[in-house]
């Protein structure tokens, strides 16, 4: 029977290609046709879908859309063909067709008048047994259904082409509990074109885990009729208590007869759906197959006896802990692991591990989950927490605990682990080893390049420092320059203040300066040398006395020489001229008066600037 189907596919492809090629060419219109080869492949393989356009090759061609099939354009080629003695340019587009699930797929015609193409995809699982004429005599597994009456939970579509069934192991579940379920879609061979989507729950009260994994495929006889069965394993969860209706549905494309049943009796006896397609006995139709609704009671988790560290885990779990490495240095991070294994809602399995442990620094734990059943109901969740010991010595980490609700025993359980011991050695930088101890430990160390060529050790001189901090940065030492600086600053300010007070007493004001200069000018105008130089000396003595903070009569030529050196030559000469004019009566010229008047004025100018 299977061989006959293959021949039928080939015959359909050849006839369709010939009809499609000849008729449009005769009509002198662009001819477009498509072929697919091979027509039957195994899941995981790809078929070549070729679209040939005779005539105007610039026409755009849209790829067909078939649920469950992926189309990918590989390339385009151009060539010339003779059709009925006419040479036509042809353009071929090669498309890779990759099935995503097993089944029988109908690819719509490339033009409205073109016939559809059929691609049969079989599963590569060894459990799948091919259907064929020998099936009746071959030893097959007993059908899951037999006879006219179907088991509970199974309802065929009105035309008997498909069914869907949801298997839930129990009717009472708890909030948050993960319940493993099985969804089975049965499709009558030859009557279902394709499965157009994944099954989904009909109610909003439940959530179904991801169904993207490849379903199991098998073929069974149900009531003597062969069915292709697609089976998904998953688990559902519910978030609120109550009694809810639960069902499942899936979208299908089935073939509907277009001729009276009596006219298609031959087709049924012939049993080849592809010939039915060819001669227009059926048309495709999209339907949703659904299961009968069933009731599921959801219970709230009990409030009594709920552990403080319960985070919502519902199932059956066991824990184990370990730490690595088993010995480390103080300050070196270690990894504390807790493994939670079992079955249940692993998305709610959580633990904070250790918190605020004395002499330990703890960090937030991170977790990873690995499923053992392929869909996440059974597996192992590993929590890893970095911890750092601050003190050396034998340390003990307390045992960990994990609380969950066991739906079988209907009570909360807390799993405990044993305390863990770890040996912490002092950090390398903190060890106070002598050179001899270091040398003794080095006996077993492998030789390295830098171990030779070192200069010899020093002989200890006995001088040592209490700290490696430089002396000038130690607070105790800093007190010395600070006190010195403060003392000097205080003395300087005190001296300056006394000087200012004295200067205030002896300082010559601007009016006094003007008065002195006026007296000198008057004496010069009168030609009185003695008076002129007497006034000049008095003015200079007052000015220098104010500057040096000395009494006026202490400003002598010798003092001026000691303080000013050669710079005080003019002052000393002025003092000498004053004595000379006073005691000798020597008269001076007007130019001399002008010169010494300038000298005194300059001296007063300096005094003003102080």
């Amino acid at each position: 029977m299977r061989q006959r189907q293959s021949h039928g596919i080939l015959l359909v492809a050849i006839i369709a290609a010939h009809v499609a090629m000849i008729a449009p060419a005769a009509a002198d219109t662009p001819l477009v046709y498509a072929t697919i080869e091979p027509a039957q492949i195994t899941l995981g393989q790809s078929a070549k879908y070729t679209i040939t356009n005779l005539g105007n090759g610039t026409d755009s061609i849209s790829l067909p859309v078939v649920s469950g099939l992926a189309f990918q354009v590989l390339g385009r080629t151009q060539q010339f063909e003779f059709v009925n003695g006419t040479m036509l340019a042809s353009t071929s587009t090669v498309v890779r067709v990759t099935p995503q699930i097993a089944g029988i797929f109908t690819i719509p015609g490339i033009t409205p008048k073109a016939p559809p193409l059929v691609l049969q995809v079989i599963s590569d699982q060894p459990a799948a047994k091919p259907l064929g004429p020998h099936l009746a005599n071959a030893p097959v597994k007993p059908p899951i259904f037999s006879g006219e009456s179907l088991p509970d939970g199974v309802r065929l579509t009105p035309d008997g082409s498909a069914f869907i069934r949801l298997t839930v192991p129990k009717r009472e579940v708890y909030v948050g509990e993960s319940v493993p379920v099985e969804i089975e879609v049965g499709m009558r061979s030859g009557f279902v074109s394709s499965l157009n989507g994944l099954p989904k729950l009909t109610g909003d009260d439940f959530t179904l885990n991801n169904l993207s994994r490849q379903p199991e495929r098998s073929e069974k006889l149900i009531g003597g009729i062969p069915f292709v069965l697609m089976t998904w394993h998953s688990f559902l969860a519910v978030v609120k208590p109550g009694t809810f209706s639960l069902g499942v549905e899936a979208p299908l494309t089935v073939k509907i007869r277009t001729r009276p049943r009596r006219d298609s009796r031959l087709d049924d006896e012939f049993g080849d759906p592809f010939l039915q397609n060819l001669f227009g006995a059926t048309v495709p139709k999209d339907i949703d197959v659904s299961s009968p609704a069933s009731q599921l009671t959801v219970l709230a988790l009990p409030a009594d006896g709920r552990p403080a560290d319960f985070h919502g885990a519902v199932g059956e779990f066991k824990i184990a802990t370990d730490i690595s490495p088993a010995s480390a240095e103080a300050g070196e991070p270690l990894t504390l692991r807790m493994r939670v294994a079992g079955s249940g809602n692993f998305d709610r399995v959580d633990s904070v591990m250790l918190e605020h442990l004395e002499h330990w620094k703890t960090y937030p734990a991170k977790s990873s989950f690995s499923a053992s059943d392929g869909f996440g109901y059974k597996g192992e969740k590993i929590f890893e927490q970095p911890v750092i010991a601050s003190n050396p010595g034998a340390q003990t980490l307390p045992g960990l605990s994990f609380s969950y609700f066991d739906p079988t025993t209907r009570r909360y359980e807390t799993a405990h682990s044993s305390p863990l011991s770890v040996m912490i050695s002092p950090a390398l930088a903190e060890r106070t080893l002598s050179p001899a101890q270091v040398s003794a430990r080095a006996a077993t160390a492998p030789a390295r390049e830098f171990q030779s060529g070192l200069r010899p050790d020093h002989i200890l001189a006995g001088d040592s420092a209490n700290s490696l901090i430089p002396l000038y940065l130690r607070p105790a030492f800093l007190a010395v320059p600070s006190i010195l600086a403060l003392a000097f600053a205080g003395a300087w300010f005190g001296t300056r203040r006394r000087g200012q007070q004295y200067s205030a007493r002896v300082r010559i004001g601007p009016r006094a300066i003007d008065r002195e200069l006026a007296q000198m000018r008057a004496a010069a105008a009168a030609g009185d040398s003695a008076q002129f130089f007497h006034s000049a000396r008095g003015a200079v003595q007052r000015a220098l006395g104010a500057r040096w903070q000395m009494a006026q009569d202490q400003i002598t030529a010798a003092e001026v020489h000691a303080r000013l050196g050669s710079e005080g030559e003019d002052v000393r000469r002025l003092f000498a001229l004053a004595d000379e004019s006073k005691y000798s009566g020597h008269d001076f010229k007007v130019s001399d008066f002008a010169r010494w008047l300038r000298v005194v004025r300059l001296l007063f100018a300096d005094e003003k600037s102080l």
């Binding site: 103080a330 300050g331 070196e332 991070p333 620094k361 960090y363 991170k366 970095p386 750092i388 950090a427 390398l428 930088a429 106070t432 002598s434 050179p435 001899a436 101890q437 270091v438 040398s439 080095a442 160390a445 492998p446 390295r448 390049e449 830098f450 171990q451 060529g453 070192l454 200069r455 010899p456 050790d457 020093h458 002989i459 200890l460 001189a461 006995g462 001088d463 040592s464 420092a465 209490n466 700290s467 490696l468 901090i469 430089p470 002396l471 000038y472 940065l473 030492f477 010395v480 320059p481 010195l484 600086a485 000097f488 003395a491 300087w492 001296t495 000087g499 040096w548 903070q549 303080r563």
Partner: protein, 203 residues
């Protein structure tokens, strides 16, 4: 022989010779990190000791670690910190005296100026020495081979790069048992305190 002699000496404080001998022992024991650490500590007490500098350079070159840049200015002003400290005090005293006795002092002005210059120079020498020593006080030495520098101060932080043992780094911050370090190449990352020893001991 030196090792045994230094081992018999009671350790009442830090001695440049004792630290140098300890560093030599670590170097011979194949622990370059601890060797470099103790050479650096010995240099704080005796910066111009040729043996300390030679052995430190030898270990670094053997490990193909980057050598210290040649710094003529640093060599000029770096001396024994204790001596430098007292020179600074003397300089401060000279400056203070020259300022304090400027008015009543009847000597020549150039002498007072010379005293002030000498005092300021001594104080400046101390300040320069402190400026050069200061970064050393914030340096650390990697004492564990293959130390990972991480992007954040947590054990599970993503590693940025790996530091070789005995590399000297600058410590810029601390957080929860981790130190933010900057290498001489300018790379920055967090290193576990257990893998790093500061040149200036914490206690």
């Amino acid at each position: 022989m030196g090792c045994q002699a230094s081992a018999e000496t009671p350790q009442t404080g830090y001695s440049a010779a004792a630290l140098y001998n300890l560093a030599n022992s670590y170097a011979r024991a194949g622990k370059p990190g601890m060797a470099v650490l103790n050479y650096e500590r010995a240099r704080l007490l005796a910066p111009n000791d040729p043996d300390i500098n030679a052995n430190l350079r030898h270990v670094r070159e053997s490990l193909q670690l980057p050598a210290e840049p040649h710094d003529w200015f640093g060599r000029a002003v770096v001396g024994r910190p204790a001596v430098i400290a007292w020179l600074g005090v003397i300089g401060l005293t000279i400056v203070g005296v020259s300022l304090l006795f400027r008015r009543p002092f009847s000597g020549p002005r150039w002498l007072r100026s010379a005293m002030a210059v000498v005092g300021i120079a001594l104080v400046g020498l101390t300040v320069c020495n402190a400026v050069l020593i200061w970064p050393k006080l914030h340096e650390g030495v990697v004492i564990v081979a293959g130390t990972s520098a991480r992007v954040s101060p947590v054990p599970m932080g993503d590693p940025l790069f790996v530091l070789p043992e005995a590399e000297t780094v600058t410590m810029t911050a601390e957080h929860e048992g981790f130190v933010l370090v900057r290498t001489r190449g300018g790379r920055i990352g967090w290193v576990s305190q257990a893998n790093l020893a500061p040149v200036l001991p914490r206690n």
